[in-house]
């Protein structure tokens, strides 16, 4: 049958690659013959051939004895994919479509295998195929495809390379743990693969960042979904440990990625992962030296870096949806009706399970609250650059009063999530940290809350305290803000009833 012919051709390819180096002319002749004989001429045959190759690669893995080279066929297949992408001239199909076609066939076989065999599915051959594909592509693209003589052709491949990584990212998005739990650990290993993650972080023009945020979001959503308070399944806690190491490595190699994408990552991070939250929010731009946050002489307004507006890669205004107009109109011309419209739109249609510290469900739209708070901060920082600092560092400014109204109109839950959203902006020295530090300090000493004062103050203390009792790293902005409150003469935290009532808390505050 046609398929048996495909099996035969692929088997010959595997044998050939074991006998000659892959840059041997025989390899190119073999591919030339595959084309001339029509093995990969039509789309239909490409599908047939790919199906045969992936089935043989997986089959030979399952049948080989573990001690031997179980990945020979998978490695040969990944080499073939790279060769076909490099040596072919693409006319009817584009190079991207060709790669997507082959990966789609692999996805179908992968899905059937995963679905059919239940728990005896083995992720390793599929992992190896993609891992080797990344390694072989890296080798082919070394020195900007130096092995390709024709310059115009080289340029075509150089332009395609970012596309290659984004296509791989798209298929990894399809393979995410919530969709294919049997592939979870291979998946985490692939998104952090040495030939993938550094590349996606450093593609020119941040061309890989959107897909990378998507993949990290997939991971965080999976963890959020299955991190219940008490019995976190062992496998999920292993997932967490892996995620923590990956984020630490990203914070070390490419802190700018976390600095610019904190908003989206935190929208999907389970709030119980307080240390992981600190890791993400503590990322600071490379080469930035932090002033000592415990320095009693430190004045945040004197810190030069606080004049600079940090870049936010994904503009939260896109998440404001129908509230964009009311919020922006309010910032321009404040009115009670607009602020009420904002405050009443913060609730979700129903309760949603969410594992937090001290609560199990959420009835407010935390993502919307995060978006409003950060959007207001971004607009405030821009306003400061346009006009003067006093325009926004004053409790009468619309930026400040919008947040105030969200607290005074809101219930305890709203207040909690608004203060959390503000605390998420207290990071390294920048214009947002500076402004939100101002906001939180004034929230704390304000007399305008009436009988809600104690509640709002307790929420502020709790939000800051939970971030400093967590193991390091601690965010510079959090430490500076908390230190100022602890030293504040206007209001001594130690005397507040909600502190005195709980000895352990009182003891910690006194120690701090």
């Amino acid at each position: 049958t046609n398929q048996e012919k495909m099996f035969l051709v692929f088997t010959e390819w595997v044998k050939l690659l074991q006998r000659v180096p892959d840059d041997d002319v025989k390899v190119t002749v073999f591919i030339r013959q595959m084309m001339d004989k029509g093995v990969i001429k039509s789309t239909e045959n490409v599908i047939q051939f790919t199906k045969a190759a992936i089935e043989l690669s997986v089959g030979s893995f399952k049948e080989s004895d573990p001690a031997s080279e179980v990945f020979i066929a998978a490695d040969a297949f990944s080499k073939l994919i790279v060769k076909l992408l490099v040596v072919q001239v693409f006319t009817s199909l584009s190079r991207s479509e060709y790669l997507k076609l082959m990966l789609s066939v692999i996805t179908i076989v992968f899905s059937e295998d995963q679905g059919m065999t239940g728990n005896s599915f083995n992720e390793r051959p599929y992992f190896r195929l993609i891992s080797s594909l990344l390694c072989q592509w890296e080798e082919a693209s070394a020195h900007n495809f130096i092995k390709v003589q024709d310059q115009s052709y080289r340029n075509e491949l150089i332009d395609f390379s970012p596309e290659f990584y984004n296509i791989i990212a798209s298929f990894l998005h399809a393979f995410q743990p919530i969709a294919y739990p049997g592939f979870s650990f291979a998946w985490i290993t692939l998104i952090s693969h040495r030939m993938f993650l550094p590349k996606m972080l450093r593609l020119p023009g941040k061309a890989g960042w959107s897909k990378l945020v998507l993949l990290f979001t997939d991971l965080l959503k999976f963890m959020a979904q299955y991190t219940k308070k008490s019995d976190v399944p062992d496998a999920v806690s292993v997932v967490y440990k892996g995620a923590l190491r990956v984020f630490l490595a990203v914070a070390n190699d490419a802190p700018g990625f976390l600095v610019e994408n904190h908003y989206e990552l935190l929208n999907n991070l389970p709030p119980v992962y307080m240390q992981l939250r600190n890791v993400i929010l503590s990322a600071i731009p490379k080469n930035m030296v932090l002033p000592n946050p415990y320095d009693a002489e430190l004045r945040i307004s004197d810190v030069e870096a606080c004049q600079h507006v940090p870049n936010v890669y994904y503009d939260p205004v896109q998440d404001l949806k129908s509230l964009k107009k009311p919020v922006d109109n309010y910032l321009r011309i404040p009115s009670a009706s607009l602020s009420r419209m904002v405050s009443t739109s913060l609730f979700k249609p129903g309760y949603e399970k969410d594992t937090g510290i001290g609560y199990d469900s959420v009835s407010v739209d935390t993502k919307l609250i995060n978006a409003i708070v950060l959007h207001v901060g971004i607009e405030a920082a821009l306003e400061k650059d346009k006009t003067t600092a006093t325009a926004i560092f004053n409790t009468k400014s619309s930026y400040y009063t919008l947040l105030t109204s969200m607290l005074s109109d809101g219930n305890t839950e709203v207040r909690f999530h608004v203060v959390q959203a503000i605390a998420n902006q207290l990071r390294f020295p920048n214009a947002h940290t500076h402004w939100f530090n101002y906001v939180l300090k004034n929230f704390f000493i304000s007399e305008d809350w009436g009988q809600d004062t104690a509640e709002i103050q307790e929420i502020i203390v709790r939000t800051l305290l939970e971030r400093v009792v967590t193991n390091k790293p601690h965010c510079w902005g959090i430490v500076v803000t908390f230190t100022e409150l602890l030293r504040s003469s206007e209001c001594s935290i130690m005397t507040l009833p909600f502190v005195k009532d709980i000895p352990e808390i009182e003891h910690i505050i006194k120690h701090l």
Partner: protein
């Protein structure tokens, strides 16, 4: 709560978790000199 079927799949994924050897760069063609050869048991067998 994670369905039992899903928990089992996640469990089997953990058991089959690829390690750094799986992630290493493929070596298809071994030059004859680097082919396996019965060397003395006293020789180091790790690079």
């Amino acid at each position: 709560t994670m369905p039992a079927e899903m928990a089992a799949q996640l469990e089997s994924s953990l058991l089959n978790c690829p390690d750094s050897l799986d992630a290493d760069t493929p070596k298809l063609y071994q030059t004859p000199l680097s082919l396996p050869h019965p060397t003395s048991i006293f020789f180091p067998n790790e690079t």
